[in-house]
């Protein structure tokens, strides 16, 4: 990523990807069909990956596409397919007026709050040179700056994460297993 005065095309593309992500997210929330919603969410994730790459996080951008847009969304689509939910439900999926108004107020309040917070200047004590990651990338490549703290400073957290994944896999299998009687199994097989 260039530093100092950013070129116009860079700023333009950053805004473009950001706005595309927001438009896709709005489309995702408003689609009635679960499959269409999932597809719009994939579009949002691709645009977010583009934003990550533009923010000097190339490796995270790739991981975003592989893990989120690839693996996690495929799991979602599998479940939609398994439960045969591909069509919009007969009962309206969108909540009634009270829910809409509550959600709208909540959205406006949250947005105002977050925007107010982003208006604040970061205290000078916390300020570091803004080109720090770019310099690290120039020195050691894209992956090493991420791998260094991951396998040194945060090694314990990394190991605990593997336990978390194991627990999640076991939990998913236990929850997904048929623990009914043989009658239940026979019904499901038929």
């Amino acid at each position: 990523m260039p530093h100092g005065d950013l070129p116009l095309f860079y700023t333009f593309q950053f805004y473009l990807f950001g706005l595309l992500a927001i438009v896709a997210a709005v489309a995702f929330v408003t689609r009635r069909s679960p499959v269409a919603a999932a597809m719009w969410l994939v579009v949002t994730m691709f645009n977010l990956a583009a934003l990550y790459v533009m923010l000097d996080a190339q490796f995270i951008g790739i991981i975003q596409i592989l893990v989120y847009a690839g693996a996690i969304m495929v799991v979602f689509l599998f479940v939609i397919m398994l439960l045969n939910l591909g069509h919009a439900s007969e009962v309206s999926d969108i909540r009634g007026y009270a829910g809409k108004i509550f959600a709208g107020l909540m959205g406006v309040a949250l947005l105002a709050m977050i925007l107010a917070v982003t208006k604040w200047r970061v205290p000078d004590v916390l300020a570091l040179p803004t080109d720090l990651p770019a310099r690290q990338i120039e020195q050691t490549g894209v992956i090493a700056p991420v791998a260094q703290p991951l396998f040194n400073q945060y090694l314990l957290a990394f190991e605990v994460t593997s336990v978390l994944l194991l627990a999640a896999v076991v939990g998913a299998v236990v929850l997904g297993k048929q623990h009914g009687t043989t009658r239940g199994r026979a019904t499901d097989a038929g």
Binding site: A21, F59, Y68, L132
Partner: protein, 97 residues
């Protein structure tokens, strides 16, 4: 770029919250949670650019937790569907007084 990235992140998070509040389909609500996690990741990456690359490590952990959460959550949704033949939260109101 930091301010713009934080703005996009805030808007995406708000859309996620809005979706959780307004939808009834459990799977779509679950996807809205994923959208919120993604918005937080964008904040992490934006701050990582300004304050050192450690923030990207946290994005890793968030992604791992999101993957674990997706696996367990979807298993719960499947178990729920076996019970109720529906993933519509309107039909799942056992805890309602």
């Amino acid at each position: 770029m930091l301010a713009e990235a934080l703005f996009f992140s805030a808007v995406l998070f708000t859309i996620g919250v809005f979706g959780v509040l307004i939808r009834r389909n459990a799977i779509i609500i679950f996807m809205c949670v994923e959208l919120m996690l993604n918005a937080v990741n964008l904040t992490f990456v934006a701050f990582a650019r300004a304050y050192g690359v450690t923030g990207q490590v946290f994005v890793f952990f968030v992604m791992t937790v999101a993957a674990a959460e997706a696996a367990v959550g979807l298993a719960i949704i499947i178990a729920l569907f076996r019970h109720k033949q529906s993933v519509d939260l309107q039909n799942i109101n056992l805890l309602k007084g």
